[in-house]
């Protein structure tokens, strides 16, 4: 059997779908077509996942074609467990976002069909960036992703959309250009006439060079993630973006940063990564606590959610740089779970804001009484944001902290205070919007309609199921993470007390 080029098919379907949608004259048809295409991509992605063997080769579904042979640039895509789950995350979120954004693009500056075509282009880019195994190709996707997102924020966003879109674009470009320098330097230093990721592992040995190149990559990823203190573009972008775009921005795009740290920063520059670890862990811990505290003080629902994400990204980077199997697997799982959890939080907040026309918490109150389903969905989404056990986010947060504690006890303990702060920011927001006497302005608010239920239900189901049964995902993630850590040449610290196996 000849190998089916799954990854190219996934991207191709999205891009062709985007082209098709942009030529449709009828908006309604465009929406339905987008939904159909994204569902098709989801089905294909699921089929691909089923065929993935977690304990087989690290990279599977590999395709390699020469692109610019004189510089060793390839169109090379393949997935390992980490990339696979993130592609799956994108494939799951896009149809949900399409369904959720049904009416979001109607007030935009550009046409409705453009919005949906952009969504599909973005999906192709997201798949490409996770699948690329050629560093140059990765860079191309990394930057190209900005374009559809820029237009989605800039043309369909809230009142301050231009400010937010330009800030987002310039901030990301700044990091991207540093990375470009590092990519080119890496190519020259490695001197393998190849940008292929496997060729470049271990190619840079000089410690000083490693550090500089590491920094080039790391700054780009830190801005993307975003890590404190280069986070301030996120609240603006997320608050101004339409809810669906915010979901993809925070849920998937930002994961490219943390994914890049795990994949490129750690594996290509292991010594430099270890050199930088104390600083990165410190920044992560600051991010966890700082993001949470600032979230508590927000008055705008979407900005609040954005700040909770900054806190959560602190957990992810901490898990990546703790360099233990548990922490790194937890961090990878966190990327997926955070995508679902923040996704549903943004979407439900979007429904709420769409009804009332205001992002300010103070404009709400007592919604639970008039729209119990909406409130219930908001509560579950919020609870997953505060990592309630039984919901998927708990598993990943627990693993990150558990794994980090093995090596860096104090940062893990400080990070654990995040669970207290999370309870405050989520429940206080819930209390102010949903509880208490019903505010007059929301008295007529309608509960979730059928379409919205279909948006929320799959995500909540995923969050609950993965909360009790995370094993399928972890089985895919664990081997890939272990191989990554082998390349970094670290081993897990052994328990202090040797416990005999079994009983």
């Amino acid at each position: 059997m000849t190998a089916i080029p799954w990854l190219s098919i996934l991207m191709g379907v999205s891009v062709l779908g985007a082209l098709g949608v942009s030529f449709l004259k009828n908006d309604k048809l465009a929406k339905q077509a987008t939904l159909g295409v994204s569902l098709l991509v989801l089905v294909l992605a699921v089929v691909m996942t089923v065929g993935f063997s977690p304990n087989g080769d690290r990279f599977q579904y590999a395709e390699t074609y020469d692109w610019i042979p004189s510089f060793g640039v390839h169109y090379a895509v393949a997935v390992d467990g980490v990339a696979l789950v993130l592609i799956l995350l994108s494939a799951v979120l896009v149809p949900i976002v399409v369904l959720a954004s049904w009416h979001d693009a109607e007030q935009g500056k550009r046409s409705v069909r453009t919005y949906f075509a952009l969504l599909l282009v973005l999906e192709a880019m997201m798949i490409g960036v996770f699948a690329a195994t050629d560093v140059f190709l990765f860079y191309v996707f990394f930057e190209a992703m900005l374009i559809p997102m820029y237009f989605m924020i800039g043309s369909y966003g809230g009142a301050q959309r231009s400010y937010a879109a330009v800030k987002f674009l310039l901030y990301s470009l700044f990091g991207g250009l540093l990375m470009l320098v590092a990519v080119i330097a890496l190519y020259n230093v490695a001197d393998k006439n190849s940008f292929l990721f496997p060729d470049l592992i271990g190619a840079v040995t000089d410690p000083t060079t490693q550090k500089w190149l590491f920094l080039g990559f790391f700054v780009a990823f830190a801005i993307k993630a975003p890590l404190w203190p280069v986070h301030t573009w996120l609240p603006d972008a997320a608050a101004q973006a339409p809810a669906g775009a915010a979901v993809l921005l925070v849920g998937v795009l930002d994961k490219v940063g943390t994914y890049g740290m795990l994949r490129f920063c750690l594996e290509l520059f292991p010594d430099a990564a270890k050199w930088a670890t104390p600083v990165v862990i410190a920044l992560s811990v600051i991010g966890i606590v700082y993001g949470a505290i600032v979230a508590i003080g927000q008055t705008d629902i979407k900005r609040l959610i954005a700040y909770t994400s900054i806190s959560h990204f602190g957990f992810i980077t901490m898990g990546v740089f703790a360099m233990t199997t548990t922490a790194a697997s937890g961090a990878t799982l966190y990327m997926v779970n955070h995508g679902f959890s923040t996704g549903v939080l943004f979407l439900v907040a979007g429904f709420l804001i769409y009804r009332r026309g205001s992002q300010f918490i103070a404009d709400y109150g007592g919604v639970q009484k008039v729209a119990p389903l909406l409130a219930g969905a908001f509560l579950i989404a919020g609870l997953s944001g505060l990592s309630l056990p039984g919901l998927s986010t708990f598993v990943s947060e627990f693993m990150v902290l558990l794994g980090t504690f093995e090596r860096y006890a104090v940062p893990a303990i400080i990070g654990t205070t995040g669970v207290i702060l999370a309870a405050i920011y989520i429940l206080w927001m819930y209390q102010r919007t949903m509880n208490g006497p019903t505010a007059e302005s929301v008295a007529e608010m309608k509960d979730l309609n059928g379409r919205e239920r279909w948006v929320v239900a799959p995500l909540i189901a995923l969050i609950v199921v993965l909360g009790f049964f995370p094993k399928p995902l972890l089985d895919v993630i664990n081997p890939a993470v272990k191989e990554s850590l082998v390349n970094v040449k670290v081993t897990d610290p052994a328990p202090v007390v040797a416990v005999k196996e079994g009983q």
Partner: protein
């Protein structure tokens, strides 16, 4: 005697079906929540059925367990792999967990039944039963878990159920605030529990009881103490012990059955469970951690009792009493194997008589248009005869009236603590005296004296669906203590799970501490009768002395929290938001503005005058030529 080894269950019998205990109520909750309004008609019945079903399973498991040899009575049932390499979901069936299961499902079922009547007028009754079922499932997972991770899932699950039920009437701002407060304060405790788990995992590489407990002694002394203290922090949060007690009194905003089930009989005792469960490993006899547990217990039992003396809200009075009684359990749990059996015995009997008292209070409120102020009660014993009799039995049980439940269990605690540390023992005796005062005050103000309610209230006895649970609970409140304590029944039964002291305690009916306790209780009751029975009780709360206000304001616990955490926290938050907007984002925007500004200034060079361009060309050429000359001469 050390606890028995935890065996892996070989399969067969009710034990391998123990998971049904959790799944039944969980399914009930899921059906009621997902089913929505379609299940309104029969939702409460399903809720009761699931709870009763869980009780039946628990009883079957219990029967199978007592059929086994004592050394075989700790069996773990692995259900599935949860986080590979970290934890499984598994159940530990042993005498300790099954005792809890029986208590939770039995009292829980009674309270479910009671709630049918109590919540009959509430349009959201179905949701209430869904949450109750959710609570039962989570609580059972908590006590049945065979590792700390599964325990933690249950631990937070009951926290969630508690949050939802305290805030059940969420349209009342006070209820919403109380619910949030309970959750947040509990999270502070959970922080301790989480860090304890990290430390255990870093030390032992596992979180399963079967692997941690036998090896605990190999860890260094300091680590053991640290784990113990962190676990205690978790226990303090859940069990409303000092310094994390403040949420429990506010939690009375929830419907009364919730207060009875969650905030008296079961959930708040989870901390005691945690200490006893980890006791042999991390709170061994004479350890520092154990000592801290006893100190926390004594401090809370006194604080709770003092708070109870000044409350006019019947439920808050009972809440103070709950704090106090759990303090007794903690105290006993802290002294090691000598106290475990008494802690658990008191926990079980307290579960019955406190549920009885709370439901009785609920019945009174039901009769009085949800009035909770005892100053507006009075003389209700004739109008609510069944409620009165059952409440009175509960009252006798809690003050330790001879031969009733509380007499045996509380006396047991005092005796065993007395052997351990006389100061703590006498403080516990003092607490018993205060208990006599505040409980008598409560009974006198509610059921005796002239009526003080206004004309709108029409007190009436509650329907049978509410009184029968009261009757059953009061029957157990009478006899259970004697059954558990005499001939050390519970102690011997629990021994495989928690170990037992070298010499078995012997029940002395006429010991010095026992008699002193009785005397002090009588004095306390006498003062209460003299103060509230003989003289008139003002309907409006008098200002009271400094001490009364001190107790009424929960010993200024809230004020302290507000001053120490809330206000600085608010300032910190404001500061952080300001810093983020002006500081960090200021730098970012400042950079952007700097670049923009300088380019704005720089472009002014383009004047549009040909001659200035020409001049710059000439200057440029001259500079180039000059540079060429300079380089050429070098």
């Amino acid at each position: 005697m050390e606890p028995a080894e935890i065996l892996s269950h070989a399969g067969g019998g009710a034990i391998s079906l123990a998971w049904l205990m959790i799944v039944l109520p969980l399914a009930g909750a899921a059906i009621l929540l997902i089913g929505g309004r379609a299940t309104n008609k029969w939702g409460h019945l399903l809720g009761v059925l699931m709870s009763v079903g869980a009780f039946v399973v628990a009883a079957l498991v219990f029967l199978q367990l007592i059929g086994l040899d004592p050394a075989q009575r700790r069996q773990s049932v692995n259900l599935y792999e949860f986080i590979p390499g970290v934890a499984n979901i598994g159940l530990l069936i042993d005498p300790l967990s099954i005792s809890f299961c029986l208590l939770i499902t039995f009292v829980g079922s009674l309270i479910h039944v009671y709630s049918i009547g109590y919540m009959s007028h509430d349009p959201d009754r179905r949701r209430f039963f869904a949450y109750l079922n959710l609570f039962v499932a989570a609580m059972l997972l908590l006590v049945l878990a065979d590792n700390y991770v599964a325990l933690f899932i249950g631990w937070e699950g009951v926290g969630l159920a508690s949050y939802l039920l305290i805030g059940f009437w969420q349209y009342k701002p006070s209820a919403a605030v109380a619910a949030k407060k309970a959750f947040v304060v509990n999270r502070v405790g959970d922080f301790g529990l989480l860090v304890a788990m990290f430390l255990i995992f870093a030390q032992f590489g596992t979180l399963s009881y079967a692997e941690v407990f036998p090896n605990a002694a190999q860890a260094s002394q300091g680590v053991q103490t640290a784990i113990g203290l962190l676990l205690l922090l978790g226990a303090c949060g859940k069990s409303a012990q000092l310094p994390l007690q403040s949420w429990l009194l506010d939690a009375m905003e929830g419907p009364t059955p919730v207060s009875a089930l969650i905030h008296a009989a079961t959930m708040v005792t989870a901390g005691v469970y945690l200490v006893v469960r980890s006791g042999a490993a991390f709170f061994p006899e004479g350890s520092t951690a154990g000592l801290v547990v006893t100190i926390v217990g004594v401090a809370t039992l006194l604080a709770g009792a003092i708070i109870g003396t000044a409350k006019d809200d019947i439920k808050k009075g009972l809440a103070g009493s709950t704090m106090s009684q759990i303090g007794y359990m903690m105290l006993a749990a802290g002294i090691g194997p000598a106290g475990y059996a008494f802690a658990i015995a008191h926990l079980i009997t307290h579960g019955f008589f406190k549920a009885d008292l709370f439901l009785g209070a609920g019945s009174v409120m039901h009769a009085m248009n949800d009035e909770v102020d005892m100053r507006r009660y009075g003389g209700l014993r004739k109008l609510l005869p069944i409620t009165f009799v059952t409440f009175f039995i509960g009252y006798l049980a809690i003050i330790g009236f001879p031969l009733l439940s509380g007499y045996f269990t509380k006396d047991g605690i005092i005796e065993s603590v007395m052997h351990h540390n006389a100061i703590l023992g006498w403080l516990a005796v003092l607490g018993a005296g205060i208990t006599g005062f505040y409980m008598t005050r409560m009974v006198v103000m509610t059921f005796f004296g002239p009526k003080r309610w206004d004309e709108k209230a029409h007190p009436h006895e509650s329907p049978a669906v509410m009184t029968w649970p009261l009757i059953i609970l009061s029957v157990f409140s009478v006899g259970l203590g004697a059954y558990l304590i005499l001939s050390n029944r519970l102690l011997v039964f629990l021994a495989p799970a928690v170990g037992q002291p070298a010499e078995l305690p012997v029940f002395h009916p006429f010991s010095v501490p026992g008699l002193t306790t009785l005397a002090l209780v009588a004095v306390g009751a006498g003062i209460a009768i003299a103060k509230y029975g003989r003289s008139e009780v003002p309907v409006v709360q008098p200002r009271g002395s400094f001490l009364t206000v001190f107790a009424r304001r929960d010993l200024y616990g809230d004020a302290l929290n507000e001053a120490l955490f809330m206000r600085p926290g608010q300032w910190l938050t404001r500061l952080a938001v300001f810093f983020d907007n002006r500081g960090i984002d200021g730098v970012v925007n400042g950079l952007a503005a700097g670049v923009g500004g300088s380019s704005g200034r720089l472009r002014k060079i383009q004047t549009g005058y040909v001659r200035s361009y020409a001049l710059s060309i000439f200057v440029g050429a001259a500079v180039l030529a000059g540079a060429w000359f300079v380089v050429g001469t070098l």
